[in-house]
């Protein structure tokens, strides 16, 4: 009997329980049809929005004042807006930017949230108390306040810095960058709490104590023995941060605090569409496409995150 046969035989006998934990998680995920649908939906959106970037980057702001507010046609798949700009180009680039904002905020929340959570949970005592009270205060502050404060403080300086670096479109980039810092500065709070709880539970487990007894440095204990065990929740919460950041951007755009036009995002396209509703003309395409993009994107990401939670955290059933 060869080794592969043996593995197959073991798989056959063990069934559900066979394989490494990550392989079992992958199998649980593969059986979850809504999660797979979410993955598929996300893949389609990513291909459309990022695949068309070479074209949309050139055409998103091109105006044609002879062809304004046109209903969808083969030439303009999603119609045109009040300045005659092709809505498909704007929608597609907007999707790319919205998803980019979501992804970058998730990255920020992972870096800060995991950092703070690990330090607070592993050190405990006074450090923990101070860090967690700081988290409480930030939770207590209305986050709109933080975002507006950051805008006031940072936009000018960031524009200056980007101009100094010689990057293209410094003003637009600074606007997006500040928005990211604003959303990121709020989204790490939940991550920090979750990671802290997990780390505190792991800290006193025998295998961590053994690692400490062997004389490993705290950094190595954390990196080699604690972080791998917290990876599941981190992945889950990072995935769930992406849709909530996209949603936060759309709220801020609605309040006029998000990414500023002409740079499109699903959020500011949707709020422009809402503003265009009036009793005389219902220009449905202006609100339908951006909102549909938002809904499909958020739905896919939430299903994906939910599926990951079920797969990686068996306790949640």
């Amino acid at each position: 009997m060869t080794a592969t046969n043996l593995a197959a035989a073991i798989d056959g006998v063990m069934g559900e329980a066979g394989g490494t934990p990550s392989r079992r998680a992958a199998r649980r995920f593969g059986r979850n049809r809504t999660a797979l649908a979410g993955l598929l939906g996300l893949a389609v959106l990513v291909v459309i929005c990022y695949g068309t970037l070479p074209w949309t980057l050139g055409s998103y702001a091109r105006q044609n004042l002879h062809d304004t507010l046109h209903t969808p046609t083969p030439a303009h798949l999603m119609g045109t807006d009040r300045l005659g700009r092709d809505l498909f180009s704007r929608w597609s680039l907007g999707g790319a930017i919205s998803m980019g904002i979501g992804l970058a905020s998730a990255a920020i929340s992972v870096v800060i949230g995991v950092g703070v959570g690990v330090v607070a949970g592993y050190t405990g005592g006074r450090v923990d108390a101070v860090l967690m009270r700081a988290v409480d205060v930030l939770y207590g502050l209305p986050y709109i306040l933080l975002v507006i404060l950051l805008r006031v403080t940072l936009v000018g300086r960031m524009t200056g810095a980007l101009t100094w670096l010689g990057l293209p479109h410094p003003q637009e980039m600074a606007g997006i960058g500040v928005l990211l810092v604003g959303i990121g500065s709020v989204s790490w709070l939940t991550m920090a709490r979750v990671v802290r709880g997990q780390v505190m539970a792991l800290r006193d487990r025998p295998f961590v104590e053994a690692a400490r007894a062997l004389g490993l440095s705290p950094a190595r204990v954390i990196w080699k023995h604690i972080l791998p065990n917290v990876a599941g929740p981190i992945v889950v919460y990072a995935t769930l941060t992406v849709p909530s950041a996209i949603l936060a951007e759309s709220f801020l755009s609605f309040l006029g605090l998000g990414v500023q036009p002409p740079v499109p995002t699903w959020g500011n396209l949707a709020s422009a569409g809402v503003a265009a509703i009036n009793p005389i003309h219902i220009r449905w395409w202006l609100i339908f496409w951006p909102c549909a993009g938002l809904t499909v994107g958020l739905l896919s990401l939430n299903f994906l995150g939910d599926g990951l939670r079920d797969a990686l955290d068996p306790r949640q059933g």
Binding site: T34, A134, F303
Partner: protein, 337 residues
């Protein structure tokens, strides 16, 4: 128990001090806010340079930025003065509206509180039984369908839902069922009590729909998870093995343990009751706490921002205490004696 509560309340003092310090630092070190008082005083005033200067000084003095003679006060001293007047109950006067902050909050709070309380009750009435049934019928049709629908609702952007609700249900062209804005009809004087209440509910129906539909997914997922976790415990098997009735096992052993999760979640959501949703209030033109905080921040209305944030912090601490007390009452294993 009483001594425990007193001890906890005393322990809250240093925490609260730390919170006020952070709040002060965030608000004062942000550029644009320090000069805000002056900017507000100048706005729209046709006065001589002298009078403007006078006005600026007055506002700066009220914010404890300068003393009576117009000399600047150091930052640590500003903090102490702010803390002192806050403790004495002087929360200051809004820079934007000609009214004391306390009065503004008194006007806005009941609105937000009503909407949030009703929304919370609706969410609990749907999400808790929903999560419970989903756990009992795990992986069956109800579980799958309910999970799908609640998560789908959670994914709908509030801007779209809010504006669609307004566009379809408060629009003479489609269904003119609900009013588009505000909280009262114009003829409230001629109504008796029940008509008044009816009118109020008629006005807040759409805002409540808009602030509840997204809330089911999270709560029911947590309830479902905690019930499933409890169902797998050894003591449940023991209870079943010794012949306890199925319903008794559920009520006495499973639900009672899941109550702990519910207490924590409810406690976490208590501070949110006072903070209104800016989006919902903006769409339906409701003057609540969310809009107050939003406009105050845009206008750098220092006293209002500080008070709203302070209320949030105090409430957060109080709800932690409430959670711990409820824990002790629900779980006999926990005692604080």
């Amino acid at each position: 128990m009483t001594s425990y509560i007193i001890r906890r309340l005393l322990l809250m003092v240093p925490t609260l001090l730390g919170m006020t310090f952070m709040l002060f630092a965030i608000v004062r070190f942000a550029p644009g806010l320090r000069e805000a008082g002056q900017a507000n005083a100048v706005q729209g005033m046709m006065q001589s340079k002298q009078a403007q200067k006078q006005e600026q000084l007055l506002v700066a003095e009220r914010l404890h930025l300068v003393d009576k003679n117009g000399h600047p006060i150091s930052l640590p001293m500003q903090y102490v003065l702010w803390l002192k007047s806050t403790c004495e109950g002087h929360l200051g006067t809004s820079l934007e509206y000609p009214e004391p902050v306390l009065k503004l909050i008194e006007q806005r709070l009941p609105v937000t509180l009503t909407i949030n309380l009703i929304s919370m009750i609706v969410i609990y009435l749907v999400a808790v039984p929903g999560g419970l049934l989903a756990a009992l019928y795990r992986d069956r049709l109800f579980d799958r369908g309910y999970g799908f629908i609640s998560l789908a609702l959670y994914s709908l952007p509030a801007i779209w839902v809010g504006s669609s609700l307004l566009g379809f249900f408060a629009n003479p062209e489609f269904f003119n069922w609900f009013p588009a804005a505000g909280l009262h009809s114009t003829n409230t004087e001629s109504m008796d009590f029940f008509q008044y209440i009816g009118d109020y509910f008629y006005h807040i129906t759409l805002p409540i729909v808009c602030s509840t539909y997204a809330g089911f997914a999270f709560l029911s997922k947590q309830v479902r998870g905690s019930i499933l976790e409890n169902l797998g415990q050894d003591y449940i098997r023991t209870a079943r093995a010794k012949g306890v009735k199925g319903s008794t096992v559920m009520v006495r052993h499973v639900f009672r343990n899941s109550l702990l999760t519910l207490i924590t979640l409810t406690g976490m959501s208590l501070p949110g009751l006072l903070g209104g949703s800016v989006i919902v209030e903006q769409i339906f033109s409701i003057n609540g706490m969310g809009r107050l905080a939003y406009t105050a921040t845009l206008a750098r209305d220092l006293p209002v921002i500080q008070t709203v944030a302070l209320i949030g912090s105090v409430l957060t601490l109080l709800s932690y205490l409430a959670v711990d007390i409820c824990y002790a009452m629900a779980d006999p294993r926990v005692s604080y004696a």
